[in-house]
Symmetry: C2
Subunit: 200 residues, 2 copies
DNA sequence: GTCTATAGCCCGATAGAC
DNA sequence: GTCTATCGGGCTATAGAC
């Protein structure tokens, strides 16, 4: 297993993606330079091209990997609509709070993707939305949820839940699990499944 | 009133802001060049500097003008909490659908602002959130709304409502007024003010 | 008020040494 | 696998002609 001095491919590859994710999330894709990414990793700019074809691929790979992870980690819906909604909301909040950079990039940099990559990302996003809409529709069929329009309610819910990333600060007054519980109550009420909240 | 040939300050000034707004919304602040803005206006790049100190001021002026307009146009809350919420939601949805570019820039380009401009923008945004939170709290005091936490519910509501800009397409199946009505129902239910929706 | 021209700098990506 | 050096080009902002 002798290895040339300066050879760290197995380490550098993931570090490049992590550095790009961090910088894209903070400053935006267009504002970040390959030299900045290289500096964050601790290599020279030219070395990045051993791990990515170009800057655009770096962005697309990040977003696709994140969305595939999200879909793969999605819990199977409980047969009970209310429990299914609870499971989805808890998953969404906890996942989004633990992967803030990836989430931020995936939501903000759609316009930085070229058309092919955009189509691929949109397909995955659509699948995620459809997953929630199925839960909503089952609840409507069961008479538990009563939104006027399942699609609009689904998109409204996802926007509401995802908004948590814009205000939540680590070390704030609420732990992620407590935030999830509050959003579960809000989501149940939003769908008209009532009694989700208390007044205490 | 004789005027030099090529003198169009009263027209060019606003055109610069409109062009910048359009391009920043579509491609992002960092990805747009002064040459692109100039081309959209129909002048050369150097001429832009008659109307703005630099690119950063262009962005800050756009965002501050939009938020000031938003606050100035905000309707005074109805004494009845439910009616106040309805008024706010209708205003928010209709305003956001009619000023999509400005809204998009104001939400997406916070990170492109320098610290002073960021602070000024955040102050206005905070005032807007506080306006809604006051409505929520009055409803709680009146026993009409029952969220567990007024701040969290306020931020969740704003995220839900603002999300309309990500999916609404002009010429789609719903007119803005119909969209507003649906969000009103969702918002009422979200706060536990119930019976906002029907099943038909 | 607008133009042309340009200063001074930084960009993404590649070539070739080690 | 990483570095240094560089190509070709685009950037913001300014100077000076008209």
């Amino acid at each position: 297993m002798a290895r040339k001095s300066g050879s760290h491919a197995e380490i550098t590859g993931p570090k490049v993606l992590k550095a790009a994710e961090r910088l894209f999330a903070r400053h935006g894709f267009a504002a970040v330079t390959m030299r900045q990414i290289a500096a964050e990793v601790g290599v020279q700019a030219g070395a990045l091209y051993l791990y990515t074809r170009d800057k655009q691929s770096l962005l697309a790979d990040l977003m696709l990997a994140h969305l595939r992870e999200l879909l793969a980690a999605l819990p199977a819906p409980d047969p009970d609509p209310r429990a299914a909604l609870e499971g989805f909301v808890r998953f969404h909040i906890l996942h989004h709070l633990s992967r803030r950079d990836a989430v931020f990039v995936a939501y903000m940099e759609l316009r930085s993707l070229n058309p092919e990559n955009f189509a691929a990302v949109e397909e995955l996003r659509r699948a995620y939305e459809d997953h929630l809409e199925t839960i909503v529709q089952r609840g409507m069929a069961a008479g538990v949820f009563r939104p006027r329009d399942s699609r609009l309610a689904t998109l409204a819910l996802i926007a509401m839940l995802t908004g948590v990333t814009t205000w939540y600060r680590e070390g704030g007054r609420l732990l992620p699990e407590a935030v999830a519980e509050q959003y579960i109550a809000l989501a149940c009420d939003t769908l008209g499944a009532g009694a989700g909240q208390s007044r205490s």
